[in-house]
């Protein structure tokens, strides 16, 4: 009981903390490539097996390959640095929470909750000084934002034939984001606050197929088609400016004006992602896997009423990546042989809608997984390092450490018949 309470408290506290990035301020922010720590370690988009031979926790079609039912959670610590400004930011967050049940090695179903994007940012401008008819004025601006879209998913996997499987995932998108824009005049803050709520839904169709297999090599392909069912819409609550006379960060009776007017606007079709992903995995007899992935995502939303101080947003994304994974053997005698090793490199190319600028993200990743106990419990560590650079913009370096814990248990699995 104590453990359960602790986990709940822990997840609650850190579910809403995100690290800042310049690129979180472009529209809805960057869409994450990977969520589970095992996927992170391989630098993958989650198609190819990375958790267990034949299984990716981010690919529904592969879930029947799990030997146990899993409750899995991933937790990330991110650090961002702006090289030119010597700015460092760091924060931690919950990355994914998942419950997957394989059924008789042919079917599987699962529930997943994860933060789809991240609006967290904090910008400030230089202080400008000017004289207005004898009065000296010092002014600067601050922009803060946080929150984003969460995704709750229900996934179902079933076989097409003995070598191919299909997964269907229904995703409900929800959540809210906040942003505050401030002008500071002679140390007095004039704040404007916006609150946006989100709701929408998408479908993912995952595919996993074994193309070739002999004693030394097997070749499998994986694919995902992501479609928007109901584009993200919601409400925009736009609070008018107020003078934060006591700098309390919230509107209170000391502030001007005496009442705060809020305009409520319904916003529709602000995020409508459609994607196609494809991956190939070569599995050798010594448990070594070599993979390559490609992903193409396009946001076909038509409404640009989003929280962005840059008046721009991510319109499309291309991902290229590859790497190798060596799965550990739970039955091996030496503990070193029980460790799963992951290594990957990738390149994400984002395009901005209005400015048509490109944002390039290059990253490398490394990860380890360690199985323990007879029920297939697994703890995964991953480290990702990379850079983001926008045309005519600042270079951002990022580091990310993810820890995932997956606890296994036997549900709906074939059991040995009693003698």
């Amino acid at each position: 009981m104590l453990l359960n309470k602790f986990i709940k408290l822990y997840l609650f506290i850190f579910s809403f903390i995100f690290s800042q990035s310049i690129y979180n301020a472009y529209g809805l922010g960057l869409s994450r490539t990977s969520f589970h720590s095992s996927v992170n370690g391989a630098g993958s988009v989650g198609l190819i097996p990375s958790f267990h031979p034949g299984v990716s926790m981010d690919n529904t079609a592969t879930w029947p390959g799990l030997n146990f039912t899993y409750i899995s959670g991933s937790y990330t610590n991110q650090a961002h640095a702006i090289k030119s400004s010597n700015i460092n930011n760091q924060a931690s967050r919950f990355n994914k929470f998942q419950f997957v049940i394989p059924i008789r090695e042919r079917y599987a179903l699962g529930l997943t909750v994860k933060p789809l994007n991240n609006n967290n940012s904090f910008f400030t401008t230089d202080t400008l000084a000017f004289n207005f008819e004898g009065t000296d004025i010092l002014t600067s601006k601050e922009f803060r934002s946080g929150g984003g879209i969460m995704e709750a998913s229900f996934g179902l996997a079933f076989p097409l034939n003995s070598r191919m499987g299909l997964g269907i995932t229904i995703n409900h998108l929800f959540g809210s984001s906040r942003n505050e824009q401030s002008v500071i005049i002679n140390n007095i803050y004039y704040r404007m606050f916006n609150l946006r709520t989100y709701t929408g839904s998408t479908f993912d169709f995952d595919f996993a197929g074994l193309l070739f297999k002999d004693s030394s090599l097997s070749i499998s392909t994986y694919a995902r088609v992501g479609l928007t069912n109901k584009p993200v819409s919601g409400n925009l609550y736009n609070f008018n400016f107020y003078e934060d006379s006591n700098n309390s960060y919230s509107f209170d009776s000391d502030d001007y004006p005496g009442d705060l007017v809020v305009d409520t606007t319904s916003i529709s079709n602000i995020y409508s992602p459609n994607s196609f992903s494809f991956g190939v995995n070569l599995a050798f007899k010594n448990s070594l896997n070599i993979f390559s992935e490609f992903q193409m995502l396009n946001d076909e939303s038509t409404n640009d009423n989003y929280a962005s101080i840059f008046n721009d947003k991510i319109g499309s994304k291309y991902h290229f990546g590859g790497g190798l994974i060596r799965f550990g053997n739970l039955n091996a005698r030496a503990w070193q042989d029980q460790i799963t090793f992951r290594l990957g490199a990738y390149r994400d190319n984002y395009s901005l809608i209005n400015s048509r600028k490109s944002l390039i993200e290059n990253g490398i990743s490394i990860g380890f997984g360690f199985k323990f106990a007879a029920s297939g419990n697994q703890i995964d560590f991953s480290y990702r390092n990379g850079s983001r650079l926008i045309t005519d913009g600042q270079k951002e370096l990022f580091k990310e450490i993810t820890i995932g814990v997956s606890l296994g248990d036997m549900w709906f699995l074939r059991r040995r018949a009693k003698q």
């Binding site: 850190f14 700015i87 904090f122 009065t135 404007m192």
Partner: protein, 407 residues
Amino acid sequence: MYNNFKTFFIINLIAILFFSACDEAAIPIDTSKTPLSIDTISFPVVNTISYQVPPDVGSHEFLYFGKKNEFDFLYNLIRFSSIDSTNQQTFTDYNDSLIVADSMKLIMTFVLDSIDQNADFQLRYFPNSGDSVFNELSTNYTNFDYLNASSVISSSSLSIVNIDSVTSQVRLNFLMDTTIINVFSDTSVTSFNASFLVELKNKNASEFKFFSSNNLSSPPKLRIFYRSFLSDSVVLDTSFHTYYSSQDVSIIDKPYIGSEDTYNLSVGLAKGLRSLVLVDMEGWKLPEHSIVSSADLVYNKINNDTLIGYSVSSYPINNQADFSKFNIYDTDPYNIESNYLSSAPIIDNILKIDYRKILTDYGRGSKINYGFKIQSSQNSDPFKTVQFHNLNSNVTYPVLRVIYVTK
């Protein structure tokens, strides 16, 4: 194994919590690429004028007698609360057969605790004036009829009263007999006026200054001494009920107005001087989702004498003003938007009044700009007249400077 794992898991989570410090540094960006802007605008003052209304000293902390500088105080009017300090005893309660009111005393407290010079004061009241005699905020020499008062009912001069072994007060004590009490307790007039007129016997005496009802420590008091009977034969000791002044005002004779008062922008309570200012904001619109940071109308005082604690209040007026000449009015013809009160102290000979609240409504088109009225605040020295430069000044003419933040 599970117990071991549970321990391992908890330790792991605590370790992550411990090492996952949150570091939030602001990322610097170029201000030109960001939304929100600060705009400034100056509006010219196009019309200014002063005018005079009767003296306005009803909210002052003191009551005056005699002569003070250029002001002649004719008399003082005092009204007492109809219920005593314990909130239990009204004047009509003395009609009870078990209570016998013996005498009544009106007490006024002098501001000094010693007597340099004494004078005779006399007291009148208003037995035939129904429920109301005056209003401290509007009664003045033009609208009060001295002849409504009775003949003199009591006289007094300053005397020292020892409050305790170390404290003494200088007071006026006007004693009254049961004749006056009977008028106060008469039930034929609902809510009798309970008012008195206090005056100097010799009108040419110099200044005498007493605490008014606006002074919480020593306001004028009315004491009614009485005996109460437990039965027809058992009498309790004599005691008294105290009634405090609810309104009072010093009536000032028509004050002298000089050319410096009429030529400049002048304000002063005792002289009844107020001024009007019209700012040209024609055609200006405050952008949507904007906030006015400041809208300061700056007035420059003419005399460089030091003023301490002198503040000026200002309101937008809601009718057309006459800027053609200095006028004298019996009542102020310019109605104000009291919700938009703005006041400021004079600091270093500059008065800076912030009009941002009304300016916001002007900018949004929800109010019409007829101009601003300025007048001395009620807590300022009522006998000090302050002059500001008007449009005739070459350099220090008033101007409205606005800073606002827009989306």
